[in-house]
């Protein structure tokens, strides 16, 4: 299916704007002289809705550039690896979390091979990171997590 860039972006703007507008009209609006917490957000999100509609209208009148194929593997895997890092850093600690993130990210690449050299490289890199960030810079992150205590 061929979708234009503008149709997607217009939808994104319009939906975000509508949600933001719906949330912000629940805040006290105030008056121009005494702006309440809702005054500015209502204006901004209203404009965003209009912009979204504008972009949608433009996408109908002139289709513009089409959306190229999305490479889902990278889009899902790399952010998931970052989330895994977040999940791991407290229980497992800095060293293992870095190792996990590194390997999960690397696995996304088409050039990824399961071989001992890469594994060794990952271990060395995680060790260097630990030495650099924890020992040298002194970030207050435990090297080993709560699971090992």
């Amino acid at each position: 299916m061929k979708i234009g860039q503008d149709s997607i972006l217009g939808l994104f703007f319009a939906i975000t704007g509508i949600v933001a507008l719906w949330i912000s009209i629940q805040y006290p609006l105030g008056t121009a002289g005494r702006m309440g917490p809702g005054f500015f957000p209502v204006g901004v999100s209203g404009l965003l809705v209009l912009t979204g509609i504008g972009v949608l209208v433009r996408s109908i009148s002139s289709p513009g550039e089409l959306l190229s194929a999305v490479k889902w593997k990278a889009v899902v895997m790399v952010p998931a690896a970052a989330v895994a890092f977040g999940l791991a850093i407290e229980p497992l600690g800095f060293f293992l979390a870095v190792l996990l993130l590194l390997v999960l990210c690397a696995a996304t690449s088409v050039k990824f091979r399961r071989e001992w050299k890469s594994a060794l490289g990952a271990l060395v890199f995680a060790t260097l990171c630990t030495a650099l960030f924890i020992q040298l810079i002194g970030l207050p992150i435990p090297v080993l997590g709560t699971l090992f205590k």
């Binding site: 121009a32 702006m35 917490p37 912009t51 999305v70 490479k71 407290e90 993130l101 960030f133």
Partner: protein
């Protein structure tokens, strides 16, 4: 305190052994990360932020400035050797810089860039020394109406200069303003857009959003065409410009510096505008316009000088008004706030050693760049040629550590992942994220100044037109908007930004 005392204070701050070493380290790290393809200054600075944590404020700021210059210069190196601009403002450098590199003149192109940048940096620093105290005292007379109009001008400039359509850029800026609204409203204490989580009460951390969109988002976009990434790094031969090179680049460097110094002060995308205008001007005044794009040294020297002069003077609105001129400056403000410094006109009077130390270290940083980059260019070239499948997992690790270490908050890491996906989405649909980043910092400021201005005038919006300065600023902003609608300017902008793609 006059300028001379200030400079003396600055030298005594910047040349303490620790600060000097950290300035050097900042420049070195900034260049090393900045040369890596696909990492612009924003990603570089956010990755290197943790290195400045735990340092005293002045040292941290000096190191940050070093990182900033290093990343700028590193970006030019990649642009020349690999034809890969790290950010929009080094796009013009690729045109002639890479053409020179292909002819085996990479060394001379790099030298022209470095020498031009150093000269421009020196002039830019002097300009800050003279004008920042003036502007800071002027800024103290600014009321909320003037500030609001300046912010509007900054946002409009960044939209006009973003690639793609104005409507798209407008939407991105609005979305950025909404992101900036997240958190507790300073005035009423109401929690806005927090979706019920206490993590969002303090707002979204700006550095987290920038790192997600520019650091992680770039990785995702680059992974898209992993196979097609040809790592063609040009060889570096003789570094010394010939006598003819010197002759050809002197005037362009001077003109580029002049343009850069002036345009850098503009709120909005001054740096980008400076390098484009400098290139266009050289092409116009040159006696051999046909050589441009095919390896004219003027086409490297002038935009690089303009770029660097503007990079210097764009510190002026940030330091004196607390208003960031570019997305990178917005990130620098984010970094300063992490350090507990609120940039603004008071910084000069209340923390003079911080201000002057920074100014002097800017110049020292430029000097170091000159002596660091040219001799080490072989090493940078090696760094550039590291294949991406080794590089990107490491980038992911550094951005994750960087984001986590700001608040030791796992939530921030999740947010970064989310904004990484969003950053990729914006690239996919052809929306440039720079206006969003700038708007996220400027949006809440705009709200605050609008509120104060209207409070004073009892809701009468005509205050923005009765103050001459505010009116003038708004007129400039309106002219900018009008100019983009006029077909003639539209064509120029499209051509200019076309070269950027």
């Amino acid at each position: 305190m006059d300028i001379f005392d200030g400079l003396l204070l600055g030298f005594s701050t910047a040349t303490t052994f620790t600060n000097f070493v950290y300035c050097f380290l900042g420049v070195l790290l900034g260049t090393a990360v900045g040369v890596l393809p696909g990492l612009g200054p924003i990603a570089t600075i956010s990755m290197l932020l943790p290195f400045t944590f735990g340092l005293p404020v002045d040292t941290a700021l000096i190191m940050l400035a070093g990182i900033f210059y290093g990343s700028q210069y590193g970006g030019s190196t990649t642009a020349i050797l690999m034809n890969l601009p790290g950010e929009a403002s080094s796009v013009v450098t690729t045109l002639d810089g890479h053409a020179m590199a292909k002819q085996g003149k990479a060394g001379r192109a790099l030298a022209a860039a470095a020498l031009g940048s150093f000269f421009a940096g020196t002039v830019g620093t002097l300009f800050i020394v003279v004008s920042a105290p003036l502007l800071a005292s002027l800024a103290l007379t600014f009321g909320p109406a003037e500030y609001f109009s300046l912010i509007v001008l900054g946002l409009i400039t960044s939209m006009v200069l973003a690639s793609g359509s104005l409507l798209t850029a407008f939407g991105m800026a609005l979305f950025g303003v909404l992101l900036g609204m997240i958190g507790t409203d300073v005035n009423s204490g109401a929690a806005r857009f927090t979706f019920g989580t206490p993590h969002l009460l303090d707002g979204l951390d700006f550095v987290v959003v920038a790192t997600g969109i520019f650091g992680l988002g770039d990785v995702l976009a680059n992974l898209e065409d992993e196979r097609s990434r040809a790592a063609g790094v040009a060889k570096v031969s003789s570094l010394f410009p010939t006598r003819e090179d010197w002759k050809r680049m002197t005037a362009p460097v001077l003109r580029g510096t002049g343009i850069g110094v002036l345009l850098g002060v503009l709120p909005g995308a001054g740096v980008l505008l400076a390098s484009f205008s400098a290139y266009a001007l050289e092409k116009k005044v040159s006696r051999h316009p046909e050589e441009f794009g095919k390896g004219a040294i003027e086409g490297v020297a002038a935009p690089e000088a303009a770029n660097n002069a503007a990079a210097q003077t764009c510190f002026i609105p940030m330091l004196t008004l607390g208003l960031p001129g570019t997305a990178t400056m917005a990130l620098m403000i984010g970094a300063l706030v992490v350090q507990g410094v609120q940039p603004g006109p008071e910084i000069l009077t209340q923390q003079p050693s911080l201000f002057w130390g920074l100014v002097v270290s800017m110049w020292l940083g430029n000097l170091m760049l000159l002596f660091l980059n040219l001799p080490l260019v072989g090493m940078w070239a090696k760094l550039i040629s590291v294949p991406y499948h080794y590089l990107f997992p490491m980038i992911c690790v550094f951005v994750a550590i960087g984001v986590y270490s700001i608040n030791n908050s796992v939530f921030d890491v999740y947010m970064m992942a989310l904004f990484g996906v969003l950053g990729y989405f914006f690239r996919k649909v052809g929306a440039e994220p720079a206006p969003l980043i700038l708007a996220m910092i400027l949006g809440p400021m705009a709200e605050e100044y609008l509120r104060r201005a209207l409070l004073i005038s009892h809701g009468d919006a005509s205050v923005f037109f009765t103050s001459p300065l505010s009116l003038g600023t708004l007129i400039v902003a309106a002219l900018l908007l009008l100019s983009i609608i006029s077909p003639r300017f539209r064509k120029v902008r499209e051509e200019g930004l076309q070269e950027a793609d």
